[in-house]
Symmetry: C2
Subunit: 354 residues, 2 copies
């Protein structure tokens, strides 16, 4: 077991005292960094980058070389699981992700296999192991997966969607069939995250990008319930340490109470919910992660600093805040602007922990 | 003054008793109707359709010829005001709306004129007058405008935007300049809606499509406050009748209490908020309009009926519900599916009003 040199993230996720608020950024390893674009070019394709552990490790570590971030997050795609199920993930130039063989009928759902993470997804586990080795205990490594509902939208729609017409028609017309699909995906996600934990992930996050497109009751049944079953299946301790679980539903600000009841250690928040209000609603049950609007980073460093100050003030004094953007960093952001945000978090948060 | 043959909409917006729940659909005059596509083709361009009162009237009335809707809504574009300000609205094929001369600097904001609705926007007022004449009191006519924040996003970004990078940079760096722009737009919207009311609109709705992209405090300052100033400026009675005002912020479910305090008669809701919860939060201060997920209309008529029943049940018994979609009807929906929804609302809502 490696002792972490900087364990602020883990402590904040577990609502333990820290000296400054830890900070990381969703998509911190990504296109806004020229060094990422260079590695991506070398790799030849995005899939090659994801499936080559050495390259995934390289890009995971790039933002840490630039910025004093308090966590690394595994570089991978959220659609690795459906790809391992045989749906044939590919990226058409200038478009989003697509599947060669999307889910079109009940038979496919009934025969869908649960991938063995150390077989079909071994490249992810190898990346986790390599990153842990290269990190050498500097900061914790966060593992992640898409939520079952989010993965299912891509699997059924065949790619990105604006209105989720096919999966919503399934939801209304054959809800039990959708539940069957979600159960298979949830089982796969549970195995995948446990394998990441065994390979060395020190915290895990479930990204529910599209749960916010549902009605409140459909969210509970088709997105939250499968996420709860995953959380219940997770190994919550490794290397003698608690492995915190972060749950993030984009546009889920109305449902924080229900999310809190899943047993997650922390909830991710986008910028449409005030952190102080959220804290009053969830009490001391969970930590909160967020929630600077990523578009703030288009402003100048001095104005970025002002907005960081507002987010810190909205959470206020005390334990249980991990600073992050409310969504992934945009590809057009200047790296110095990300740096200004990170520096401001560390400098301005100190008084909140005294 | 014409006595309305069907005034359910007005009564429900004012929380007065009705025998069945009134129903209309956002974008009910639109691309999902073959007769609309035919008129659009005849018109030659979308702008020609908007600026020719006879054609705007024709498409406004098309859905009423098909379905027993309880309201007509003026067919127009939300960007008529910035166009009248001289920004040069156009529609590039396959893209969204664009401006030839977007707002790029402080000077433009300082010299921006407030259009006279009976001059530069006379074509809209002529359409309102013509539609009222053709409706002959069958159902009320709803007038509308985009919200100042929503209009400003297009004016500053030059068109649609995913991340609102330019206007958000302005918001953080020069908030007082943005407020000046919003004040000019708000004044223009107030005059525009009052002119629509004088021309014959019997209810008006403010569409705040992009307010939900803001933080809670920025929403209050940059979207809600200008909308409140509009509502305060509106003529609330015409032809001896109260003219109800409907406020709709997409993704605004977290802010209903603040929206209620604007003095609006009714709030529009998207499908991410439960109508029953919303009703408990706003009490008897406002009526509620919504909130079937438009993607429900991809399902079969029998399943559409089930989902209509759920929405009606979530509001429950009593006054103050106008049935609508939670957002505009999608262009790919079969008209019969819209018809199934409307029929279900009228049939299934009767017990809630006994």
């Amino acid at each position: 077991m490696t002792q972490l040199k900087n364990d602020r993230l883990i402590r904040a996720l577990l609502r333990q005292p820290v000296e400054v608020t830890p900070v990381w950024m969703m998509r911190q390893a990504g296109r806004y960094l020229p060094e990422y674009r260079e590695t991506r070019r070398k790799a030849g394709s995005f899939m090659q980058l994801c499936t080559t552990p050495e390259l995934a490790c390289e890009v995971t570590l790039q933002p840490l070389a630039r910025f004093p971030l308090d966590a690394a997050i595994l570089f991978s795609d959220i659609l690795t699981i459906p790809d391992a199920m045989g749906l044939g993930l590919y990226f058409a130039e200038g478009e989003g992700p697509r599947f060669e063989r999307p889910i079109c009928n009940a038979d496919q759902i009934k025969t869908l296999g649960v991938p063995d993470p150390e077989q079909e997804l071994r490249y992810v586990m190898d990346a986790v192991r390599l990153i842990r080795q290269e990190l050498a205990g500097r900061v914790p490594l966060i593992g992640f997966s898409g939520s079952p509902w989010t993965l299912a939208t891509y699997m059924v729609e065949g790619g990105s969607s604006k209105d989720f017409r096919t999966i919503k028609a399934m939801l209304y017309e054959r809800p039990e069939l959708l539940e069957q699909l979600l159960a298979t995906v949830a089982e796969s996600v549970g195995l995948y995250l446990n394998a990441q934990i065994r390979a060395g992930a020190q915290a895990v996050m479930i990204f529910d990008t599209w749960g916010g497109a549902l009605t409140p009751s459909d969210y509970c049944r088709f997105s939250l319930e499968p996420m709860q079953s995953i959380i219940e299946s997770l190994q919550r301790e490794a290397e003698g340490q608690r492995v915190p679980v972060i749950l993030f539903t984009k546009n889920g600000g109305q449902w924080l109470e229900a999310m809190t009841d899943t047993g997650a250690d922390a909830l991710g928040l986008d910028w449409t919910t005030d952190l102080g209000d959220a804290r009053r609603r969830v009490g001391d049950q969970v930590a909160l992660q967020g929630n600077l609007d990523p578009s703030v980073l288009y402003a100048s460093p001095e104005h970025i600093r002002e907005q960081v100050a507002k987010v810190l003030a909205s959470f206020g004094k005390g334990n249980g805040h991990v600073f992050n953007l409310g969504h992934g960093i945009h590809p057009e952001i200047a790296p110095e602007h990300a740096g200004a945000m990170i520096q401001a978090v560390h400098e301005l948060s100190r008084p909140y922990h005294q």
